[in-house]
Each structure stands twice: as structure tokens, then as C-alpha cells.
């Protein structure tokens, strides 16, 4: 029987169909971070249980640590040190691999896992972090879980789960100049709503997805969870294989050949069927920006905020009006030209080398507008080092950006560093929820190119106004 990519991975990891109707699924890799991993490790130990396969568990410090140069265990976030030190202690006791502060491999979980080939085609990977779906870009089944499930995965190397429904989102045709993976996923969520992918494992397919680099695919899959999906994934291809070759945890020698032969079988069979199919014309996607407090509140950068009669239900109208009040905006307001206070380039969505290059292309030889605070936080220390080898850091710094150490930083507010109340932030991250980047902060999500262009003009700007956009 023809199978989809997700079904192939599912079947290869099925330990047992359980009497209660759930499935016991084998988990190949577990990733942790100091914010939620610390508790999972601690409570596992308190329950007198141990990690079944410590060599399959990896942990990073990304959420709570500072991103200022010269950082240590002390954090701007009150009590952040507790999380850092507890994680270090528990990771050591459990004998798992930790990418600690000061380690050149440290970075945001979903950036460094692909970077080191910890995630590979066909594996199951879980992490107590909702954006774990990012890693599906390599052709893996990767999804976010809670801390209790992380304990379960570490103790048993399995999870008991329900089989998700299957969806394929096909982006046909070619993207226009200046349009990126970020715009694709925002567009999808805008069209089908933040709940549009609920309960589904989504395979992203079509020529526009094939044409994306691995980094672009990571951005695309990153926001599958903002579409309420169980996860997102992309079938591996030659780009995936050459991306992985030679990376730290990638198979080598004969193992590489065997793995490759297997990975090549990881495609959706021709006549396989999905519960839901969505087709999107890639050429019609504009550089996209959010106006409200849900990722679905978005429009093309040159468009105006829709009027309330465009929303289908009372609930949606109420939510949109509340979002506009929070954001200090009104229906019919044009997005382009809206004054901004801050620009943030970072996060597991858009802080890989390609993202920094795309912003730097526009920033080169220009200056951030007066009054705009601009910050760039590379997604990993390796991204940072590679960017510095290319001289991108000096482009950012000369333009007026701060250049930071890697981590989640101001993607989210955990009680530490944050943007000010009512300040407007243009951000490459993935969540524009109320107070996500600081109490009362107004976040607009966009691509690195849009953020860079807007930082220069001091207001929301179509990146295609700059000839250097790519």
C-alpha cells in the first residue's frame, strides 16, 4: 500500500499498538533545554528513575541564559541562575551530552540539532519545546512535548501517542524576489487560521519548497506549531544529504552509505493519500507581516489591516479588535510606513547564516534609523563564528545593530531582558502574542529582509525597495 513520508517514519517506530487505542512509538533522540529540561531531569531522578539511553539525550542552554558578551551563570532574569545550575547538575548526574555556556557548539536547540546532524532523516526526535517541529525540515518526525512526556521519553525511550491526521501543503510555482520561507508560512497561517493545521502532521511539498535551502525549510517547519499542527516535515533530498554529510553526528563511511540508501526511500509514494490537502500558489505570496497578536493576523507588507467584516465569526472579530487595541492600530491602517521602535533579528525561526546574510545584504553601507534599537542574536555559536568569518558582524555593527552571543534572547520574555511597554518591535521570531517580548510590547513578525529594511527606514518597509534584496 502506498504510504506518505510520515506514515513510513511512524511505521518504522511502532513498538506496539496499545489496548487503549494509543500507539507506543520509539523515540530516537531527545533534546532538552535549561528551562524545561531541568525540571524533567530533576523530577525523573526524584522518582528514582534513570535515563534509559543517555547517549540519545542532548541538552543545551538557550532560553534563560543572557546573550550579552562575557555572559556567565548570572542572568538578567531573576533566579535564572537556578535553572542553569540545576540543568548542569542534572545533566551531569544523568550522563547526557550538554552544550553549556562557553561551548562552541552551544545555541538554540532547534538550530544546533540540525547543525550537528543530531536530527537526521527518518528519526523521531522530541523536545519539551513547542518549536521542535522546526527539525522536521530534515525529513524527521520531530515534535514538542511537555515535561512529563519528556520524563516518559527519557525513562522508556518511547511515547504513547495518538496517530495524527495527515496533511499536505503544496507550494506550487516559484517565489517572487524578496519573498522567503517566513513569508510562505505566515501566508499559509493567514489564509487558513492559527488553528488550520490542528491535529495534523503536515508534509510541506511542491516546487517552492524543493527550491528552498535547508535553512529555509527549517524556517518553514518552525512555524507549523503556530498553525496548531502536530508537526511539519519536508521529504529529504540531495540538498538534505549534502547538508548532513560530514556533520558531527552524521553517519560516516559504510554507515553513511547504508543510511543514505534508507533516507532515499523516505518520500511520499505516488498514490498515497492525505486527510487534508492544501495547494498554494507561491508566486502570489508577498513579503508578509503580522498586524495583530496571533500569527494569523497578517497581510502583505503593502496592504492595510482588513476591516472587521472580513472575519468569519464573532469570536474572530472580538479577537481582532482586542488585538488592534493592544497593538495601538485600527482597521484600514496601512502597514507600510508604520513607525517602529525596535528591530530584532534572532530566534529559532530566522537566525541561521542565510538569514543573517539576507539582512546584511540590505544593511551593508547603511544605518539603522535614529531612535530604533536594533539587535541581532545569532541562533548558535557556530552561526555566529561563520558570520564573523564572512564579516557580517561588522556590517551589523556599523549599521547600528548590537551583535550578541547566541540564545533565545528577546524572542520571549522570561522576566529578564525585554522591550518596553507599547514599543513596536519588528521581529524575525515566531510569536506575536500579547507581552511575548515584554509586558505590553507590540510585536510584528516578518522576514529578516523586511526587518532589516524597516530598521533602516525606521518604519515598516517592503524589502524590495532595496535593490540588494534576494
Amino acid at each position: 500500500m502506498p504510504k506518505t513520508l510520515f506514515e513510513k517514519i511512524w511505521d518504522a517506530h511502532l513498538v506496539k499498538a496499545l489496548p487503549d487505542g494509543t500507539f507506543l512509538i520509539y523515540i530516537d533522540r531527545i533534546f532538552l533545554h535549561e528551562r524545561t529540561g531541568s525540571i524533567a531531569l530533576q523530577s525523573l531522578a526524584e522518582a528514582g528513575r534513570s535515563v534509559r539511553h543517555p547517549d540519545r539525550v542532548f541538552c543545551t542552554m538557550d532560553h534563560i541564559i543572557d546573550t550579552f558578551p562575557g555572559r556567565g551563570d548570572d542572568t538578567v532574569m531573576p533566579s535564572g541562575k537556578n535553572f542553569i545550575q540545576a540543568t548542569r547538575k542534572e545533566a551531569k548526574a544523568a550522563d547526557i551530552t550538554l552544550f553549556d555556556i562557553g561551548d562552541e557548539r552551544q545555541g538554540i536547540a532547534h538550530v544546533i540539532s540540525p547543525e550537528m546532524a543530531i536530527v537526521q532523516p527518518g528519526v523521531t526526535l522530541v523536545c519539551p519545546d513547542s518549536h521542535t517541529c522546526t527539525q522536521g525540515a530534515l525529513g524527521a518526525a520531530a515534535w514538542g512535548i511537555g515535561s512529563s512526556e519528556a520524563e516518559h521519553a527519557m525513562a522508556t525511550q518511547t511515547l504513547r501517542i495518538n496517530k495524527p491526521k495527515l496533511m499536505r501543503v503544496t507550494f506550487d510555482g516559484e517565489l517572487g524576489v524578496g519573498v522567503t520561507a517566513k513569508d510562505m508560512i505566515l501566508h499559509l497561517i493567514g489564509q487558513y487560521g492559527a488553528h488550520g493545521g490542528a491535529g495534523h502532521a503536515i508534509e510541506f511539498a511542491g516546487s517552492a519548497v524543493r527550491n528552498l535551502s535547508i535553512e529555509g525549510r527549517l524556517t518553514l517547519c518552525n512555524m507549523a506549531v503556530e498553525f496548531a499542527a502536530f508537526t511539519g516535515l519536508v521529504a529529504p533530498d540531495d540538498k538534505t544529504f549534502s547538508y548532513l554529510h560530514g556533520r558531527t553526528y552524521a553517519p560516516a563511511g559504510k554507515d553513511w552509505d547504508d543510511a543514505l540508501a534508507y533516507w532515499q526511500s523516505l518520500v511520499t509514494d505516488e498514490n498515497a493519500t492525505f486527510d487534508t490537502e492544501i495547494v498554494i500558489n507561491a508566486a502570489a505570496i508577498e513579503p508578509t507581516i503580522t498586524w495583530g497578536t496571533s500569527p494569523q493576523h497578517n497581510c502583505g507588507v503593502n496592504q492595510a489591516i482588513p476591516t472587521l467584516d472580513n472575519f468569519k465569526s464573532d469570536d474572530a472579530r472580538t479577537a481582532a479588535q482586542r488585538a488592534l487595541d493592544y497593538q495601538g492600530l485600527a482597521c484600514g491602517d496601512a502597514m507600510a510606513g508604520l513607525k517602529i521602535d525596535n528591530a530584532f533579528i534572532g530566534s529559532c525561526t530566522n537566525a541561521r547564516l542565510e538569514d543573517l546574510r539576507s539582512a546584511a545584504n540590505i544593511l551593508k553601507g547603511r544605518n539603522v534609523a535614529a531612535g530604533v534599537t536594533a539587535i541581532c542574536v545569532p541562533g548558535s555559536q557556530k552561526v555566529k563564528a561563520a558570520a564573523e568569518r564572512e564579516g557580517l558582524d561588522s556590517i551589523f555593527v556599523k549599521a547600528g545593530f548590537e551583535w550578541r552571543e547566541s540564545g533565545c534572547s528577546m524572542c520571549f520574555f522570561a522576566g529578564g531582558e525585554h522591550f518596553g511597554a507599547q514599543e513596536r518591535v519588528l521581529s524575525t521570531s515566531n510569536r506575536n502574542f500579547e507581552s511575548r517580548q515584554g509586558p505590553g510590547t507590540r510585536t510584528h513578525l516578518a522576514s529578516p529582509a523586511t526587518v532589516a529594511a524597516s530598521a533602516i527606514n525606521g518604519c515598516i518597509t517592503d524589502p524590495r525597495q532595496f535593490a540588494e534584496v534576494n
Binding site: 487505542g21 528513575r49 511537555g146 522508556t156 504513547r160 465569526s313 510569536r431
Partner: protein, 204 residues
């Protein structure tokens, strides 16, 4: 884990759509490496007048005397979306919430509820609104009863609805099972899988 069989309590409406886990418990309220001490931070951004203050906002539903001792939340679509933080569920549980009734839930949040003895009940939007209407006049008197065994929600003034839940989830909640212990009873199956997998994917 606390079992869930049948529960009767005050139900409060929080009918906004897309209430995310950061709204349920803001990051800044997660100060300790612990599952405890989180109830104070529940809905902190709405519940208190200022961030970090503890002065109650009288307009927030859970602060209204009519909704004192709320144990059931009537929520909007996509309740618990966003961050995977289980703290959201730990905070709800510590506050005393036993069940949440909403048209749909964030997937990770839903699983977290099941693992912490909170019953997530899916009813369609109109029904949730109808229950909110049915309790509104006198929430302390018009309590809501949720019977997991029979999969029903009802009010003292005669509203009734049936809901669906996966058999596995139902069993875990009814019996208050520890899922790790339960899974380890299949240890032989896991070992068999591992032996076979080691020959099929030796590179892992």
C-alpha cells in the same frame, strides 16, 4: 496522579480564542525549578493590576466573587496554544482547576492536562457558549458537573451535553495512572524493537 471520575464545581467563562500558555502562566512567573508554587502566577497578566504586582484586577473573571472557587474553565477555540510549558497545567491544577471545556485545545497542552489529572473536554463552540450562559446568572448555584465515565457535562438547571475522549486518555484519568509505570510493563516489546532496530539502523 489525581484520578478524575466525576466532578461538580463552579465554572468560569474565559471565552477568548487562542488563549496561549504564556497568558495562562507568564514566563516571568516561573521562578523556581519546580512544579510547585505556580498558582499565584496563574493568568498573572490579567489577574493582577500590574505585572509583578499582586493587586487583584477586579474586572478579571476569576477575581469576581461570583466566580470564587472556580474549578472548571469554559474556554475558547485553541485553548492552551503556544509554548509547551507544562507549568501552565501545573498552575491550573494547583489553583484547583479540574476540567477545561473548550471547542479545541493546543495539542501539547491537551497531553499535559491528561498527564496531570485535568480533564480537557471538547464541546463545540455553541455548546460552550450555552454553558457559559447557563451558569452566568448565579455561578455559585448553577454549578457544572462533569462525569468522565459517562462522558457528559451537565448543569443543575438542566443543560446536558455528551463529549468524546480517546479510550486511552479516559482510562489514564479515571484510574489516575502513572504512564511511565504503565509503559514499562511493555519493556519486553521495547527491547525487542531495540534489538531489531540495531540491525536495521546501526548508524544511529
Amino acid at each position: 496522579m489525581q484520578a478524575f471520575t466525576c466532578h461538580t464545581g463552579v465554572a468560569a467563562p474565559l471565552l477568548r480564542i487562542n488563549i496561549d500558555t504564556d497568558a495562562i502562566i507568564p514566563s516571568r512567573e516561573m521562578r523556581l525549578v519546580s512544579k510547585k508554587g505556580l498558582a499565584e502566577g496563574l493568568f498573572a497578566s490579567w489577574r493582577y493590576v500590574l505585572p509583578d504586582s499582586r493587586e487583584h484586577n477586579p474586572d478579571f473573571v476569576l477575581n469576581k466573587p461570583a466566580y470564587a472557587n472556580t474549578t472548571v474553565i469554559l474556554g475558547g477555540n485553541n485553548f492552551g496554544c503556544g509554548s509547551s510549558r507544562e507549568h501552565a497545567v501545573w498552575a491550573l491544577a494547583e489553583y484547583g482547576i479540574r476540567a477545561i471545556i473548550a471547542p479545541s485545545f493546543g495539542a501539547i497542552f491537551y497531553q499535559n492536562c491528561i498527564r496531570n489529572g485535568i480533564l480537557p473536554v471538547e464541546l463545540d463552540n455553541d455548546q460552550v457558549h450555552a454553558f457559559a450562559g447557563a451558569v452566568a446568572e448565579n455561578p455559585q448555584k448553577n454549578t457544572v458537573t462533569i462525569n468522565l465515565k459517562h462522558q457528559t457535562v451537565s448543569t443543575v438547571n438542566g443543560m446536558n451535553a455528551h463529549f468524546n475522549i480517546e479510550a486511552g486518555h479516559k482510562e489514564m484519568l479515571l484510574k489516575g495512572l502513572d504512564s511511565i509505570g504503565l509503559t514499562l510493563t511493555f519493556d519486553e516489546d521495547i527491547r525487542r524493537f531495540e534489538r531489531r532496530d540495531a540491525t536495521m539502523r546501526p548508524w544511529l
